[in-house]
């Protein structure tokens, strides 16, 4: 494994007050750097699934995984980086649009199979879902028109099949 590869950790955690704080506090205290963290309900009542992206060498990430596993409210945690996974993130991008640029933006959005979710006189808001490369590419193309705001969820992931 190359050093500082992006690792995806998926944790099943109890849905209790303070659990996010416990996880975040652990990262801060041990000096681990979170690239993104996404959390939401899982298929099991009372449990949430957290997807955490960490860019560090494998030894450090393994230490992160083991420390996370020690938290009482973390039921299960796996590093799924080397597994066959489906990973997506969602981004909302508010881009400047004038009468002359609007149609060009819409064309780009179509190519990316993204959606226009809000139209205003001087802007369009685009919703895109995909892996980070796709999101990054779209942002890069839209940058030329002038981006007003971006909001991204960070990666969520599941292993394929089974």
């Amino acid at each position: 494994m190359n050093s500082n590869t992006k690792h995806t950790l998926v944790a099943l955690v109890e849905d209790k007050p303070g659990v996010l704080n416990r996880v975040a506090s652990l990262f801060r205290r041990r000096g681990f750097n979170i690239q993104s963290l996404a959390v939401g309900s899982s298929e099991q009542p009372g449990l949430s699934r957290m997807t955490i992206v960490v860019a560090d060498d494998s030894t450090v990430v393994e230490q992160v995984r083991k420390q996370l596993d020690k938290l009482i409210n973390v039921v299960k945690v796996s590093d799924i980086t080397d597994e066959d996974t489906v990973a997506r993130e969602l981004a909302l991008i508010k881009v400047k649009a004038t009468a002359s640029t609007r149609s060009e933006i819409i064309q780009i959005v179509d190519v990316f199979r993204a959606n226009i979710v809000d139209v205003a006189l001087d802007s369009l808001t685009v919703e895109v879902t995909g892996d980070e490369d796709k999101v990054e590419s779209l942002i890069k193309l839209l940058r030329g028109f002038g981006i007003k705001e971006i909001s991204r969820t960070g990666r969520i992931a599941l292993t394929r099949g089974a």
Binding site: V13, E14, G18, I72, V74
Partner: protein
Amino acid sequence: MKKTGAQILCESLIREGVEVIFGILGGAVLPIYDTFPQYPQLRHILVRHEQGAAHAADGYARATGKAGVCIATSGPGAANLVTGIANAYMDSSPLIAITGQVARPFIGKDAFQEADITGITLPITKHNYLVTDAAELAKTVKEAFYIAQTGRPSPVLIDIPRDVQQEEAEFVYPDKVDLPGYKFISQGHPAQIRRAAKAINEASQPVIIAGRGIVISQAYDELKELVEKAQIPLVSTLLGIASFPGNHILNLGMLGMHGTAYANMAVQDADLVIAIGMRFDDRATANTKGFAPHARIIHIDIDPAEIDKNVPADIPIVGDVKTVLKALNQEIESRDHLDWLSQLEQWRYEHPLPDPELVSGERGDELLPQYVIRQIYEATQGDAIIVTGVGQNQMWAAQHFIYTKPNSFISAGGLGTMGFELPAAMGAKVGCPEEMVWCIAGDGGFQMTIQELGTIRQENTAVKIAIINNGYLGMVRQWQELFYGRRYVDTKLWNPDFVKIAEAYDIPGIRVKHREEVVPAVDKAMDYPGPFLLDFLVEPEENVFPMVPPGESLAKTLEVPKGLASLNG
């Protein structure tokens, strides 16, 4: 039957076998204290500062192997526990800290004496709870004791708002816990154990590093079997010092920054390190880059997160030390390692620890701290529990007392907490009243929790206190001398007359200035039926040697430098 939260707490503690609670009351725990008279089997010891309560419970836990319990009120009371909780966390001691919290409607409003103690103690507890419903209290206590005392022991904090203590709920104590996110592995993986056994059987220069995990797991016999069957020399970490007899021929003493030169040489020359119940703390390994350069490493520990954390392991075994060693011993072949052992004996002969007798003889009449420690050993013949804080006094106590009895050394290892010694010694004595308990204190550390003399007198806890009084924050002064050009910035202490202080607390004491007074004073302290204080005015600038300078590897162990000795003398 319905009971109040406070009653549920007391009932639950009794079901967990709790006999003693160390604490101080205050507004947010008044309902709990108000129910204590209903439960006379719970002995409450009123300390003078909450830090003392946490250290005392920690000392109690380490001496007895059972969870120690401390209690404090909300806000400042809870915050004062923090050092004690952090200390217990670093040394894997099962501590239950109970704190009062402001009533539920006031939480988050910056109410009088409110502090977010669950937030504050997040990184220094194995787990913590804010109980918001009296009906959850029994289950919470059950879980807390289970988590604190199983796997790798650690502190657990339970924060209970005042109105939850008063609220009534049905009391049912659960039989078992349901913690899907908590697991620990006791049995080592058989394939790993086979690999380890093969490595041990093939090694020609093996060495064992024994840590506190052996004490926690009470694996003394299993360790001894391994050492003797395969004739493997042993070194120990500071907290592993009483895991194996100090007078055993194969025991080379402590390794590390102030370890024996021959223990460090053994590790540096070994072809196999068998690390048992230890976590490769930097004071033990020195610079890990040069640590045991020729050795493969077997690492046995119950905490998987310790594997590869500081020093990568070639053969990791996750499991309970006692269980793993039992299995391992069955696959170990007898060996004699004659060449290796004779090499080590030669090093032991050529590079001995500074001999307290010899050093005194050379320097005339000075009272040397090493001599004091050795005389306490001679007087007790090792049949005592030694409790220390941190610093020079701790290192001399580690080097010059011979620990022949299992679990006879209790010390603020990982956190290195000044002020641990007195309350922890009190807690140890409360937990083991039949044992002789000696508190070895520095004059600096002693003054950090000196007020617990009041508790000791009130409870008539027969702790013997030896202050190694050099008038300095000694270890810091030693660093200033060696690494900061002998600039003694703010390390010199004006001290009170500790014997007079003790007398003010109605505790007898003797001030000892000369070598010949040591033995009679120690005898007198031991013969006295209650607490007793000895104030040893030792050579102010005596240093702890050997020493590995900070940043260096164990290969750079300095023995007593002749130049420095004359500088001091």
